[in-house]
Amino acid sequence: MTEKLLDVRGVTLQYRTTEHVVTATHRVSFSIYPGDRFILLGPSGCGKSSLLKAVGGYLAPLEGEITLKGKRIAGPGPDRMMVFQEFDQLLPWKTVTENVVFPLLATSRLGRKEAFEKALHYIDKVGLTRAKDSYPHTLSGGMKQRVAIARGMAMEPEILLMDEPFAALDALTRRTMQDELLRLWDDTKFTVLFVTHSINEAIRVGNRILLLSPHPGQVRAELNSTDDVSRIGALETEIHDLLFA
């Protein structure tokens, strides 16, 4: 049996607004194994984004513990690359290639030549070789998200954290991006923690789905996904009932 990669144990998260202290999640536990496409699914207010931020190291748990390969997470780091929903996650003063290369060089993980080679390799993987010298403001929303994914993957992190990366895209582009992500996974078998509020997307993208109930976020179920077309409808209904019953 393989070792757990990421372990979330009894994590309670709180954040402060100017007037309230909001409990985002209450004693949430789950484990991710290498190669998992692990989905956090739930309606808005279930704390799924907060959980992802906690794994990213931006938010310290009030209670419980998050460990990556047995080491407690203390802050943000390049071993957990984030892909955000917002298009402004790309640095507008850098071209596509420079955006992908920057973290490789900033962490001085690779030499200049190797960094550029790796960056171009992943830019090619997401099909953006033609746009490699473009500035982000000239790209479409889908292309921007592809760059962000290439940037995350080029760092070859322990785990890729994706915060509703396709939510701001139109439905058709969204579908294409989901398929591309799966194709990339077939290629490299990376580990990804993926946040979404779409049941359909959860089933398509994930292999394991954590259902969270809202206010505060608590684990409702942890399910296996399916790629058996005849079972998808039933699973969708089951998840729907679990979340909204």
């Binding site: 640095l91 003063w93 500035y135």
Partner: protein, 292 residues
């Protein structure tokens, strides 16, 4: 809910063969020459300047009082003569040199203050308090004090110049830093950059539109302050600047030369705005799509 609209007659599903589309661009036509020319901003601005010069000339001829209001051509003549004998260029160079020193120092200090303000809370309070205290204070009002502290000369000029640049620059830079989106901050932290690298590689470029505005406004403030200061105490270290040139010529009632001095001040300002800052904009914020 039903898929049938009761208000419409029954309709069959229809399918069509889609022929390959050639995509001929036969509706394209070139823009007429004059329109193309008129699309150039520099040309439109030149036309405005020419019109203003014509107005000036007309009024000068009409008032026929070369002591109070010399004509455009008289001014140009004085300008040409003073350029030819080298006086104006020397004066302008003196001013610009002092200006650049004060400007650079002001920007440097503003950067230090803004970086402190964005990285620490006490630095933030410090900057906010200081800018609200000193930004409204005209630099020229500090000149008497500066003269007392640093004496007649370079020291005093630099002091008032720094004062005129520092606060407006710091204010803009700090506002720019605060305006950097949460996502971009998180991206920067995700890379595990150190504090300084984070500021230099993420915050400064992300805030560059505001920083550039600060630099422009700071430049204008510094230029005004310098000319005014030179008018007040004239010569510094044996060599006067443009302000002194204007003052000197006024005393000798060489009014066309006074106008020529003012004209040089305007000219340098125009060049700075339309050449230097324009180039910086093109290479940075426009290219990055942060400004259109």
């Amino acid at each position: 809910m039903t898929a049938i609209n009761p208000f419409a007659p029954p309709r069959e599903d229809q399918f069509f063969e889609v022929p390959a589309f050639g995509g001929h661009a036969d509706v394209e036509r070139p823009i007429p020459f004059w329109e193309k020319l008129w699309n150039k901003a520099w040309l439109r601005k030149c036309v405005i300047i020419a019109a203003l010069a014509a107005l000036w000339q007309a009024y000068g001829v009409f008032s026929a009082n070369s002591l109070l209001f010399p004509t455009f051509t008289d001014t140009m003549e004085a300008f040409r003569d003073n350029i030819a004998n080298g006086v104006l260029l020397a004066r302008a160079w003196t001013s610009v040199r002092v200006l650049l020193m004060g400007y650079a120092l002001g920007i440097g200090l503003a950067t230090v203050l803004s970086v402190l303000a964005i990285t620490t809370r006490i630095g933030n309070d410090f900057l906010e308090t200081l800018t609200s205290m000193f930004n409204p204070l005209p630099a020229i009002a500090l000149l008497p004090l500066a003269l007392l502290w640093f004496g007649l000369g370079l020291g005093s000029l630099i002091f008032v110049l720094v004062h005129s640049v520092l606060w407006v620059m710091a204010l803009n830079m700090h506002a720019g830093f605060l305006g950097v989106s949460q996502t971009m901050r998180m991206v920067g932290r995700n890379y595990g950059l150190g504090r300084l690298a984070y500021v230099v590689k993420i915050l400064v470029p992300a805030a560059f539109p505001s920083i550039l505005t600060g630099m422009k406004v700071g430049w204008a403030f510094a230029w005004r302050t310098l000319i005014a200061a030179e008018l007040v105490f004239g010569v510094s270290s044996g060599q006067g600047g443009l302000g002194w040139f204007i003052f000197e010529n006024k005393n000798q009632l060489e009014i066309p030369s006074v106008f020529a001095g003012l004209f040089s001040v305007i000219l340098i300002g125009l060049a700075m705005e339309n050449i230097v800052f324009r180039k910086i904009e093109e290479k940075t914020v426009r290219r990055w799509g942060m400004q259109h």
